[in-house]
Amino acid sequence: MKYLTTGAVFLLLPGISAAAVDPETQNLISIMWLTFCAMIVFFMQSAFALIESGMSRAKNAVNVMMKNYFDVCIAMLMFGISGYGIMFGESIQGWLGAEKFFLSGVEGGREYAFILFNGMFAATAATISSGAMAERTKFHSYAISAIFVSGLIYPLYAHWAWNPSGWLQQLGFVDFAGSTVVHSVGAWVALAGIIVVGPRLGRFDPDTFEPREIRGHSLMMVTLGGFILWFGFFAFNAGSTDGLTDQVGKIALNTAYAGAAGAIGVTLTSYLRRIPLLLTSTINGSLAGLVSIAAGCATMDPPFAALTGLIAGAVFSFGRDLILKMRLDDVVDAIAVHGISGAWGTVAAAMFFTADPFNPQRIMIQVFGIVIALLWTLAASFTLFSIINIIFGLRSTGMHEQRGLDISEHNEIGYPEFQKTTFRSN
């Protein structure tokens, strides 16, 4: 009966004010909202898999899918084991959570939904690096890295920024749905990963150092992934309200505007820079807009959300070139989309903060938080990948890269009927 009531309330929400609902029902609605959003955020993993796989060559399609599938499994479990405790456990001087490991001391149903939702965020942070490091990273080494990213690196920074006692939170750092906390952290992990693992064979000409284009095998997959990610971002941002509130509509609208403006931003930038407008760039531009609005989606008005997204599209376009100029091989442009655009979004959250726009002090705090994220994540993950590289080897052998990681690591190929290959599956 209670659930029926909850369902009815959920459907009739527009006509019901929060005051009209008793606290128990409100609690149930919040649980339902959080769980529902967590499920949609989980669905975003399929979009990551589609985008990353589509942007890789056919001979690595299975490997990329496998990594995406597996890092969700690892991240969910690791977040329950250590991540949640580090992130939301009782804080030691604002630096580290020190309880609720292995979900001990969890109170009630709502906290379970909260853990689920935040576990999905951890999985998102962990999965970003898989795309950047695709086509040349050993599967088991990547899986080991995902353990530490979701169980330590992400939760620790999230504790500083999101735990009510976290020292960055105390300074006034604002990142509503994780432009920096989730996306930039994931991107900086990816940055460390691609520095350690190195570029794919032949990505840069050895004489001129010019990058060579290595096209992905399916733009249809990339496009579908782009749509699903956009869909997922509604839940990603709106679910961060931690319950069903009247902010949800504005957050969803801001999300939609930023995504749309991001695509337009990259289009205009490409036009002005006289560079070809690619489908992948358009989709990535729109994702850059969606990432950038996560920080300020609840605290800025829709026109500013569109402006944030528009600029994020341009930031992505230049950021991508910057990464290439540094001779870094990011297969899916994850660093430009999630890292650089995420950083811009975090600054924009302060610049366009509705109650107090363009406050220099707030902007400085945001920049400080971004720098701390970069330093902590880059240092920690660089150390992590270097250790993994020494012990297990991070990069697959040239022969495996030549054969494709599908056949060499998993002994199966994505397109057995169409893939033209002379290689044996031995």
Partner: protein
């Protein structure tokens, strides 16, 4: 008559070496693929009919007999068509290509017998003048071409041809340490020297399938770096396809090298 003269000398030579069935196949190859070509590679022709037929005899000796026969054929063709002879390619084999003689099998040295005491001194024998016998200098042993190496060399050469000569030289130099570390020091230098030539054939008795695979891997990696991974994959697939088509019944499966 002139038409026959384009094939007859070749047939006459091959009759000595091949069984009727194999001879028919070789002649069919000659008349379909080679007879009208401006440049004829004797070596390729021999490789062609050797690799496609299970022939037990060695190809060694064929070249020296086939060379004059081919010249006669070309002259006959020239008389028939009126076109000048454009030329023919001599096989590397005759040009002293990099063929390492096979290592000699271990010889069991019989134990030296103990000196037996002679009971009586031998009677003095008058010295007999022995006429000096002219000893012919021993001919260097030339081993027949090993099918594995024919395939391997052809594969590597075609891969290397996928990149322009200047960059190929750079690529080989840049990967010289990796290339030399693929096989024993005795084989490394001849291998590296061969890679820098245009020769189609290389053989060394210390290079097995594992070494061939490692060499292929280094060459592919270099190709990726200098030609780009997309082109490198395209070249690899095409060359592997060519080899599979050319040597369908070969004892070395090209997939073993990939």
């Amino acid at each position: 008559m002139l038409l026959d003269a384009r094939s007859y000398p070749i047939q006459q030579v091959l009759e000595k070496y091949l069984e009727p069935k194999n001879l028919a196949f070789a002649m069919r190859l000659w008349s379909t693929n080679y007879i009208n070509q401006p440049n004829i590679s004797l070596q390729r022709f021999v490789d062609d009919f050797y690799s496609r037929q299970p022939i037990s005899t060695s190809s060694y000796g064929l070249y020296s007999d086939l060379l004059p026969a081919m010249m006669s054929s070309l002259q006959a063709r020239s008389r028939f068509t009126g076109a000048l002879i454009d030329g023919y390619e001599l096989p590397d084999y005759d040009l002293g290509g990099h063929i390492t003689p096979p290592s000699a099998p271990p010889v069991q040295v019989p134990p030296i017998p103990e000196p037996q005491p002679t009971p009586e001194p031998a009677a003095a024998v008058e010295p007999v003048e022995v006429e000096p016998v002219a000893v012919e200098p021993e001919k260097p042993i030339q081993r027949p071409r090993d099918e594995k190496f024919v395939i391997f060399s052809s594969f590597i050469r075609q891969l290397l041809n996928g990149i322009n000569p200047d960059r190929r030289e750079k690529m080989l130099y840049r990967n010289r340490i990796e290339l030399k570390s693929t096989c024993t020091p005795e084989a490394a230098e001849p291998l590296y020297a061969w890679l820098q030539t245009d020769s189609d054939y290389f053989q060394h008795n210390q290079i097995g399938v594992n070494e061939m695979s490692a060499i292929t891997h280094v060459i592919y990696t270099g190709l990726c770096e200098y030609q780009g991974p997309v082109d490198a994959d395209r070249i690899l697939m095409k060359v592997a396809g060519n080899i599979n088509d050319k040597y369908p019944f070969a004892s070395l499966d090209i997939n073993e090298l990939l």
